[in-house]
């Protein structure tokens, strides 16, 4: 990293993936390019201070932090990341530590019995629609409807996290 040649090689090797990443997350071409530019400039300016073992994870982390910072400061359309996050959570449901998404599990609990059953089979046990229909003795269409309503309810839950919740808990203690 200490000479312009090595720096340029690093840039050439990683810039494209980093830019594709920053663009995917923000859907803003200029912002995405600025982020990549700033990350490399920072890498160059701090090359004396930094002791980097693996460059790609370092660069990925730097871009990720910028993207999240701009998200928090409302510099691009927030719904882009939020939709992706919802998709990720729902697709990786079974791998996520339960204590993390207590909101999600609390919501699951609130679902009507049948809907909860279908959704858990679909997501946690990876059963196919046919298998679920057979197991519960209901039609394929019913299974599909239950899944889509259940997912919709979960998404709504992910979207709305009101601040007043802590207030409610506090007031209950009085």
């Amino acid at each position: 990293m200490n000479t312009p040649e090595i720096f340029e090689k690093t840039y050439t090797e990683y810039w494209k993936k980093l830019n594709a990443f920053s663009y995917t997350m923000t859907q803003d071409k200029d912002l995405a390019q600025n982020i990549v530019q700033d990350v490399f400039i920072d890498l160059w300016e701090r090359k004396e201070e930094l002791n980097i073992n693996a460059i790609e994870p370092y660069l990925f982390r730097a871009v990720k932090n910028q993207v999240f910072k701009y998200y928090q400061n409302n510099k691009f359309d927030k719904t882009i990341l939020e939709d992706k996050f919802e998709d990720y959570v729902i697709d990786h449901f079974s791998t996520i530590d339960p204590e993390v998404l207590d909101v999600l599990y609390a919501l699951l609990d609130k679902l009507p019995e049948k809907r909860k059953e279908v959704l858990l089979m679909y997501k946690m046990q990876d059963m196919t629609i046919d298998q679920i229909a057979e197991e519960l003795e209901i039609s394929r269409q019913t299974v599909k409807n239950q899944i889509s309503s259940g997912l919709k309810q979960l998404r709504e839950g992910l979207k709305d996290v009101a601040w007043i919740a802590p207030f409610i808990i506090l007031s209950k203690n009085f």
Binding site: P4, I41, E82, D97, V161, A162
Partner: protein, 306 residues
Amino acid sequence: MIKRIKHSLERLLDKSSRNKTSRAEEDLLNNFALSEYQNSNWDDASMGNSDEVSKNIYEGIQLRMEKKNAFPYLKYMAAASILFLVGLGFFYKPSIANEKQLTFKTSDVPKSIQLSDGSKIYLAANSLLQYPEKFLGEERKVSLLKGNAFFEVAKDKKHAFIITSGAIKTKVLGTSFHIQLSKSKCEVIVVTGKVNVSSKGQSVDLVPNEEALFSGEKLTKLAVDKSLLINWYTTDITLNEATLQQVITILQYKYGVTFEFENKAVLGVPVTVFIEKNASLESILKQINYITNLKFNVYDEIVKVN
């Protein structure tokens, strides 16, 4: 009660910024980002030609590299051919006409910025300003692309200061004034000094307490409501027994939000509020809620009141 609708992603990131996330929560955020990184691909249609983009980005990086490490870079280049030296010349002597444009954007709090000539600009929340890193030409030019700003322009008789906001150009020599730009109109209000406002053939000169309003292709001069001249940009202000309408007007300027009232009768209610220079919108709404019991819900740039 003040309620804001927040997404769970936002909640997690806020927690992370304050270092309050658990290991599992950090992992979730990181794995989410990693998954997006691994699956991202270049798309020419939306991202452009990758060779051009790469050049673009790298040129920006090089400009910063040569600023800090001039001599080592020169040494590296000296061994090269004459073509390279010409390229280096381009970096070393940017042409006078080529000012590097920067943008300054505010999100939900106002911020101030000082320009290379010493002029100071106070940008309200939700606003966007474009300005050059250094003023190099005969005229000093900036653009207000969105929102409201208060300008304190440094005196320089030789270089007129020109602000473009929407369809109008405001020209000043050294003065302080306020510009509000919205989708349907643009207003310029003079606090001290003298200003000329023009648009496509129409032109008016303004002195303190006068305003130019550009709306529907017409430029008119008006006398100004005093409340707009209060310097909320730079000082704390106390509004004593002001009507709610007057308070709302100032909040609209300061935070770039609009208010929607279920019951307009409340606008006449007198209130006393203290608006600190750096206060957040939420803290002021809390004050008003405490006095009046009105409920405020903030949705991005709209505040609903009932």
